[in-house]
Amino acid sequence: MNNDTKKLVWEPPFIQPHRMGEINKFGRARLHDNSKSSVYGVSVVELLRRFGSPLFVTSEKQIRTNLRNTKKAFERRYGSVVHGWSYKTNYISAVCNIMHQEGSWAEVVSAFEYEKARALGVPASKIIFNGPNKPKFILERAIAEGAQIHVDHLDELQLIESIAKDQDKVVAVVLRLNFDTGYTEPWSRFGFNIESGQAHQATKMIALSSHLNLTGLHSHIGTFILEPRAYAEQVRIMCKFMRELESNEDFCIDTIDIGGGFASQNALQSVYLPPEQVVPPINEYADAICTALLEGTQYRRQIGRELPRLIFESGRAIIDDAQSLICTVVGTKRLLDGRRAAILDAGTNLLFTAYWYNHQVHTTKASEGTVADTVLYGPLCMNIDVMRHSVQLPPLSQGDNLVFSPVGAYNNTQWMQFIEYRPNVVLVHENGECSVIRMCEDLSVMMQQDRLPEHLSMPFPDTSAMARMINSGTIARRS
């Protein structure tokens, strides 16, 4: 250590005790340099200069490619297939319209989502209306306009029937089912249960009504399903139910909706192996589903009936890797246990899914210094605002940028407006141009919905005036 002339990279001096049982210098070694100076072909520096930090960047090309590949996987195997774009996954208008331009219908689950789809210009006949809460006013509109309604519970079925009577219509309904596939925990809170007979009871009600017609069956077995055989079992159970229905009642089922839930290349915190090893390719899902569906509908071909239309509502698998989040380091720390920490200008307020997923984190320039375990915190004054509890990164300094990916699913819809403005969301067009598709918030957006009663219009009103108001009884005296 006598070589005093050698230049050193500055870092506060630090000593770290070894803890036995967790020592492996290469254990979580990341690759030599995984920095990433551009996202979707556009320079990070340029993007931040134009649109500020933090910033969501969306790729039109990636969305279209993902959607085409997924649809092709099903069409090749089954034929008549409709993709319903699950609005709740990402309902930024431009994202929805890319999906619609590719032929996807809108799959909506609330009055707001229904109104949004209509406002974007989606015809009601291409809206799948799902979800447990459909208030009367929106059901009336959806029925009048001819949307495809998926029924969740008996009260809703009765409401639909009474609206149908009022409008003097026969309404085609799709029944949402739940059942045990043996692979995933059944989501028994949605739809009608097959094993308990609820589903049969509902079909009886529909059969007895002169204003209802059952035309489809729907179920959704869960989210981030890593086992394609779960879908095969789902389809088998649905087809069996359909066959019983068609032989006992005068129904003709023209729609089988298998919901979504295909996994994306994201690392769920509870899964040990990395996503590239556990997430099946889309073809494996399509294979399992279409093989089971072709088998289960064999009987219809024998009696000369057409095959039902297959609807899938894949959200995450289409959009997740088509969006990244760029953010900036606002400060760094050493935690008491010796780990490095950085505070970022984006937290779980923007990346809500950081609670369940370990998103990939890339630096944006090659950096010197040893890679070490680092904690990434968001900007919120909330202890749970952690973007990554543990990630191997080179030393970070204020002003450095990080890219989180994939973030396209459920963040632009579940993000929350807590103490911070939400940032710009931009789209990289197919030709490489960039434009804002959702403006960042500012004070006027935040205060737009507030209303101040007259007597609260001033935060610190003139005290003598206040005294007069108290004496005259305009304001109650505090007890």
Binding site: M1, D4, L8, V9, W10, P12, P13, F14, I15, H18
Partner: protein
């Protein structure tokens, strides 16, 4: 270092204690008194080496500031924090 002790009230290791440590060029440190081992980062290694060889706090700080091209005040407050950290472990 005694001055640091009276100012912060923290535990500051004596020079004798520091000289017991087996310090290798790779930043591996072994404390023969407790059997505990540590890793020290390159700047910490420079400071520890200087202190073991008898440098004062001020000399260690300024020589670290020189080697890294860091403002003297930042180096000196970081070195103090480092010594207090050593005090917690030794």
């Amino acid at each position: 270092m005694e001055e640091l002790l009276s100012r912060t009230g923290g535990k500051v290791p004596s020079r004798e204690r520091l000289s017991q440590l087996a310090v290798s060029e790779t930043g591996f440190i072994f404390d023969p008194q407790t059997g505990q081992s540590f890793s020290v980062n390159p700047t910490g290694l420079v400071v520890l080496d200087l202190l073991k060889r008898g440098s004062t706090l001020d000399v260690a700080s300024s020589s670290l500031a020189d080697r890294c091209g860091t403002p003297a005040e930042i180096a000196s407050s970081s070195v103090e924090a480092f010594i207090l950290q050593l005090g917690r472990y030794l």
